[in-house]
């Protein structure tokens, strides 16, 4: 049982490392949002499950944190993506831009 929890903890730490590396190395802000929130969400899940396996009494609190992260993190990253779209320059390699049409601009298809 200890071995399983150690494996989960190392997977979580590795995904945290990959999330930080993606934050540092990705070329523009939308890619950084993708790397920084998705990879660290999986890392947090794995690490908290590892802590919950190592200490079975705490499994309820650990599940509470996991559920809260699973709800709040996509909402936060979506709000950040919309704020980035509205506040800074768009990269010039966009393939499709649906939000521009939703916000009242005219349709332009770059495909």
């Amino acid at each position: 049982m200890e071995i399983v929890s150690y494996v989960f903890m190392i997977i979580g730490g590795a995904f945290y490392l990959l999330g930080g590396l993606g934050i540092l190395r990705m070329p523009d802000t939308f890619n950084r949002i993708q790397a920084g929130t998705k990879a660290t969400t999986l890392g947090a899940f794995a690490l908290l499950i590892g802590v919950g396996i190592a200490n079975p009494d705490w499994i309820l609190k650990v599940l509470l944190i996991i559920i809260f992260i699973a709800i709040s993190n996509p909402i936060g990253s979506s709000a950040l993506a919309k704020a980035t779209y509205l506040s800074s320059e768009l990269p010039n390699n966009l393939v499709q831009d649906d939000l521009h049409e939703l916000l009242g601009g005219k349709k332009h298809d770059t495909n």
Partner: protein, 86 residues
């Protein structure tokens, strides 16, 4: 031993996120790296709970998760530039 390995991996992740926080060209980059940093800190608090065998640290992690979520939403609203209406 395992704790040292896991803390080293997470420490490198924190280092990269803080580097982006310092050099980020736009304010949106800094907010994104701050969000990543908050999630990493939740994991560090959970690992400290495991290391010290004290479940009170998990309560701190819950409160930190809630505050980090509110902080992300507030910074996103601020970056959008519409301060009053919501």
């Amino acid at each position: 031993m395992i704790n040292i390995i896991v803390f080293s991996l997470i420490g490198l992740g924190v280092l990269f996120a803080v580097a982006r926080l310092l050099i980020g060209p736009t304010p949106a980059d800094r907010v994104v790296s701050l969000d990543t940093f908050n999630i990493i800190v939740i994991g560090i608090i959970a690992l400290l709970a495991n290391l010290f065998k004290n479940s009170l640290y998990l309560d701190i992690a819950i409160v930190y998760a809630i505050l980090a979520f509110i902080e992300t939403i507030v910074f996103a609203r601020y970056l959008e530039g519409r301060h009053g209406d919501c």
